[in-house]
Assembly symmetry: C2
Amino acid sequence: MEQKKTIKDVAELAGVSKSTVSRYLNHGYISLEKQERVRRAIEKTGFQSNFFARRLKTKESKLIGIVLPRMDSVTVGKLLAGIGRVLEPAGYQGILLVSQLSVSKELENIRNLQQQGVDGILVDSVGITREHIRLGRESALPILYTGQKHEGVHYVKLDDRAAGRMMGAYLRQMGHCRAVFAGVSERDTAVGIDRKQGFIEAFTEGRRNARVDFVETGFDFLSAYNQAEEVRRCQATVVVGATDNISLGILRYFHERGIKVPEEISVAGFGGYEVGAVVYPALTTVAFDYELVGMKAARYMLDLLQNKPVEECMDVPLFFVERESVRNLTKACEPEQPASMNGMT
Amino acid sequence: MEQKKTIKDVAELAGVSKSTVSRYLNHGYISLEKQERVRRAIEKTGFQSNFFARRLKTKESKLIGIVLPRMDSVTVGKLLAGIGRVLEPAGYQGILLVSQLSVSKELENIRNLQQQGVDGILVDSVGITREHIRLGRESALPILYTGQKHEGVHYVKLDDRAAGRMMGAYLRQMGHCRAVFAGVSERDTAVGIDRKQGFIEAFTEGRRNARVDFVETGFDFLSAYNQAEEVRRCQATVVVGATDNISLGILRYFHERGIKVPEEISVAGFGGYEVGAVVYPALTTVAFDYELVGMKAARYMLDLLQNKPVEECMDVPLFFVERESVRNLTKACEPEQPASMNGMT
DNA sequence: CTGTTAGCGCGTTCAG
DNA sequence: CTGAACGCGCTAACAG
C-alpha cells in the first residue's frame, strides 16, 4: 500500500530529470548509461505511469468503446472474443456498454462513449437510424458498426443474402420444391430481408414448380414454437428458420406432436450455434463465424485509427453445416446409418 | 467536428470564472442566476467535461476492471449482464479483459488493471493462487472474485455443495439407489469437489444400499460424449453430469445407441442452460442464476468502494428444474403425457 | 543527448 | 458566494 510512485520519484532515484524518464518511457532518446539507471529506478519503485495523466496529454486513450445490444447471447460472446483477439495485441482495451436491445439506449451509449475519451467506437447495432448518422458526423471519433449496414457509415457484416442463397441452393439440390421460410420482421434489414430474399432467389430462380411460403415469428425460441402450427399448415417439404433458435422452436413442436424430422418434414436454420448439434435430429444450418466478424471489425477500427487505407474486403466466410435434419428427396432409399457426430464442432 | 469545448469556453460564454463552472458541475455552491447562465452556456457549447482531466484530479475513474476467463460462454454472458445491471445505474463502467482460461494471463490482466486507474477489479477466476493473494495485498484496489473462493479474499460464489445436495436429495426421492457422477478434475474446487461431495452426501447419507460411481471427463460436450461408454458400464439407474454440457454429451451418446432416456436410464445435470430445455428429453437440472451472481458481485464491489459494511450474505438461490430426463422409480406406471414446455425458460 | 519550462483540463484551496 | 492561482502526473518544445 505504498504511496503511488510518479515519474518524479523515479527521476530523483535515478538522478536524472523527469523528462529523461519520460523519454525512456516513450521515444527513448537517451544514453545507454542513464537508460540503465532509469530502468533500475523503475524496477525499484515499481513505478507504472499514471493512465490519466498520460491520456490527458496524448489525447489517446487506447480504449475502444464497445456497444452491445445484449450480453447473454452466444453470438455476442463470439463477436467479443474476436474483437479482443485483435485489439489486445495492439495495446487497446475495450469498454463495454450494453443497450438492452433498445435503440435509444444504444444512442445514449454512443453519446456517452464519445465523451468518455475513447479512441473509437464499435457498435453491434440493433438498427442504424438517422440519429446514428448525426452522432457520427458531430464527432471526430470513428464509429464502426457490425450486424447492420447503412450508407455512409463504416460497417462489417456477414453476407446475409449469400447465406440465404447458400441454403436455397442446397435445399433445391436435395430435391425440395416447397418450402416455408419462418422469418422475422422486415424491419430488420439483415435477417428479415436480405437473408430471406437470398433464399427465395436461389430456391426458386428459373423453376416454375418451386414455392416459398412465409410465416413471421420473433427471434426467440418460444415465439417460433408458437408459430409452428401455422408453419405446419403450409404443407411444405422443408421449413427454413431465419435463425437456429427459430428452427429449434419448430423442431421442438414437431417432436412433441410426433412429427418425424426429417422423414416427414425437413428443417434447416442459420447461425451454426453449437446447440444445433446437440439436438435430435442435429440441425442442418448455415454457420456464421462471428468471431471472425469481430476480428475484422477490430482490424478495420485499427486501420481507421491510423488513417490507413481501409480495405473494403468485408466478406466473412459462411460454412454450410450439413447434419441430419434435411431429407434428400432425390434418393429413393433413406440413409440408414444412425445419427453421427458429424458437424459437431 | 468542432473544437473540443472546455470548461474555459463555457466560463467565457457565461461570463463567469472557470471555477464557478466547476462548482456548478460538482458541489454547486453557486447563485441561482449564474447557475442558469452556466446551464445555458453548457447547453450551447455542448460541453462535456474531459474524462481524463477530471480523473487526474479526483483519482476516481468510475471504471471497474472485469477479468473474464473467456467470452464465448453463456454463463459469462449472464454474469456480465448482472454486473452491468448494477454498475451502470451507479455511474460505473466496466473495462473487460479476457484471460483465455490461463492463470498467468489472468494475473497479468489483474496487474494491468491495477495500473490502468480503475477503481476496483472483478475477477471471474479460473483458480485463485498465492500470486493472486500477493497482488491483492500489494495494491489498495479492491479485488473481488467470483466462481472460486479462497481464504482472505472477497468473493461471491454460488453454493456448489448445496446444489449437489439438492440433486442428491431429488434423485433419492425419485427412488434411485445407484448413480454415476460424471464430473471434472478435483483441481477445480468448486465443481470438481464441492458439487460432487454435496451430491454424494445427500444421495448416500444414512442408507446402505446407495452407491455412487465416478467417471472423470472434461468440461466440454465432446469429452463427455467420449466417456459415455465408461459411464454406461457402471450399470447405474441414473447418471449425473457435473455440468449440463456433460449431461448433454452423454444424452447424445445414449440417443445414438438407441438407449432410451429416461426409460432405460435417467440423466440429470447442473447449470440450467436454456439448451437443456430444447433437447429431447429435456434435461432435469439444478439451475444457477449467474446473472444474480453478477449483480451480487457488483453490489459487493460498490460497498467495498464506499467502505460500507459488507454484508456477508452471499447465498445465490438455486432452482431445481424438473424436466423429462429423470424417471420416477417409485411409481409403478410411467408418465404418459408427451414432452411439454415445462421449465422452458 | 539532456534539463528546464510550459501547459493538457479540471478541481480546489484561498483570499476577497 | 466568487475569482485567481496552483497543481494532479505526464509529455513536448525549447534551449543548452
